[in-house]
Symmetry: C2
Subunit: 356 residues, 2 copies
């Protein structure tokens, strides 16, 4: 007799990218930012640690909501801080989707959405992207129309490509919520400034953001959602009372208030990304033009597993990704490579040159 | 048209105790520890902040699991770290309870269980305690037998009373999981050392612990669950991949490894608790003998709301608690007062002396 819910018994659980807990790896597999966070973050953490850790944190995160609101020109009631944007995705499922209702998302993309739907007992459908990562809107429309939640990461992973607001507006479910997952939003050439929220459909849109990538704070677990206050108020009922701790609230506020630091790191990453893409092409790879802090690349040999394994033997981790049953029933396979420091990328290119 | 799930639309959301974000309050309402956490915690946080916040934390919290396992003489596979023990309660509902299944819990007790059940679309039933806070096991049994989860806080809140292992063993649901919520466990005269897990029924028991109270870390959000590895493995599928951040993992490990600090604070609180109980009795209050870091007290005048309000006017916060429809259909009402520092308790007693 299993005591677990059948939905839990059935699933394998999501497996995140490898996280070796020892030093010595060139880690280009989980889209972490290779640069440290703002020194103001470290000061804020030190100050919070010497403060009043014995009392509960502000349950609604007043300070950080204010900082986010100022950044995007919104009222703080539009902002919900979360324990990483992962928690926001869980809250969204639990807020809007009942068992057997439908969620849909583009494919190939972030398959965590399927695990979250399975946990909620919900159905999930993949909206197959064209081989050039554009949308087949005619094929997507019937799924969008039936969906309670549509998740769209933009820029998308693993492709690093970005869709226009005009395309996104066609994906809003008539009786549901559109989640624009902008974990990589800050790396785009023209970062999204929440224009979509000011459209007629704005009351059905939730934008999720993460401090893990652009703010160099994957270790901190902090994200936030932006949406109409009616949506935020309901989502707040679903979250744990004190979902964000005192230290991450203080650190996140300091990080968001140091835009200069974040932008300088982003610019460095964007420059390295260009260099990486050019060098990979010289080595015979096809490289998708990226708007994120990683590139999606395939090799004409098709030997992605072999390249991944041989890099790993040399202590370089990239992400081997396989998406069966993509458009036309074909498997999409390739390597997703995080844009590291210039030194890390030099090391990668050097080893790739030896391997190929 | 509401976009929310009907279950979410229906609930009001849990309202935690008041958390004034300004100084100047004598805060005796949310069972925080008045003493600071171990200096080793502050060092661990500083070190983590200067470390690698740009990379993801260890998703399974190896270091802190080892520290907990050593403390209780278990294997680390018996331990699941969570973002506060609140997150553990949410994970338990999502792991074991499908919509319309039953959870039950003693009453008066921690009503958050009802909110969590409502969010999951589950049913909840109260097992009415006798006026002296003992169990009516005959009345409880039919509910226990139908329950998928039975939640029992021990020591209980608001009473501060503690039930024997012998009683608890009679509350294990034959086809479900028994959750022993030990948020206040360290304050008991004989803190529970997980003996229940080694009984035949041990495979159906989950013990939850919090660092918020005894370790003075309410601001940090860290808790852990202890259970048979089969239960922990399934619960791990339900949690977010990186549910605990790098700083709280490091801080929690340091806190748990400094038992001396925790015990010294606990002993101080237990001594102050005794003094508070005696002084309240002298002021005409009935005081329930407490095994926690708070006392439950009633006044023969029945003017609890008035006392609460007049204390609040003097910037002293205690918790006014009202439990309608307790045993015999009667309302249970009283004040739950956190055991603060001796100075805080002196101030409370002084003002109470003026009010009464």
């Amino acid at each position: 007799m299993s005591l677990f819910r059948p939905d839990v018994e059935r699933i394998a659980g999501y497996v995140p990218g490898e996280q070796p807990q020892v030093d010595g790896w060139t880690k280009l597999n989980t889209n972490e930012n290779p640069y440290p966070p703002s020194p103001r973050v470290v000061s804020a953490i030190r100050q919070a640690a010497e403060g009043r850790l014995n009392v509960y944190p502000d349950p609604v995160g007043t300070g950080v909501r204010k900082a986010v609101a100022e950044l995007f020109g919104l009222d703080p009631d539009w902002v919900l801080p979360t324990n990483g944007s992962d928690e926001a995705l869980t809250i969204l499922l639990r807020s809007f989707v009942d068992p057997r209702e439908l969620i849909s998302y583009p494919y190939p993309s972030y398959i965590l959405y399927e695990t979250l739907a399975d946990l909620q007992g919900a159905r999930h459908e993949r909206m197959l992207l064209n081989p050039d990562w554009t949308w087949n809107l005619d094929a997507a429309r019937p799924l969008v129309e039936q969906s309670k939640l549509v998740f769209v990461p933009n820029p998308n992973s693993p492709s690093g490509t970005r869709w226009s607001d005009e395309t996104l507006l066609k994906l809003i479910p008539p009786r549901g919520v559109f989640v624009l997952d902008e974990a990589y939003g800050d790396f785009a050439d023209e970062p999204h400034q929440m224009q979509l929220l000011h459209t007629d459909a704005g009351r059905q849109i939730v934008v999720t953001r993460s401090l893990s990538k652009s703010y160099s704070l994957a270790g901190l677990r902090f994200g936030f959602s932006i949406a109409h206050p009616d949506l935020i108020a309901g989502m707040r009922k679903v979250k744990d009372s004190y979902n964000c701790d005192m230290i991450s609230l203080a650190a996140a506020e300091a990080a968001i208030r140091d835009q200069e630091w974040m932008r300088a790191n982003r610019d460095r990453i964007v420059a390295t990304r260009q260099r990486l893409a050019t060098a990979l092409a010289d080595l015979g790879f096809d490289v998708e033009p990226s708007q994120a802090n990683f590139v999606w690349t395939t090799h004409s040999s098709g030997e992605h597993r072999d390249i991944y394994t041989r890099l790993k033997e040399r202590k370089i981790l990239v992400r081997l990704m396989t998406f069966p049953e993509a458009i036309g029933g074909k498997t999409v396979e390739g390597l997703r490579i995080t844009v590291g420091t210039d030194d890390q990328i030099d090391r990668l290119l050097e080893v790739l040159g030896e391997i190929l």
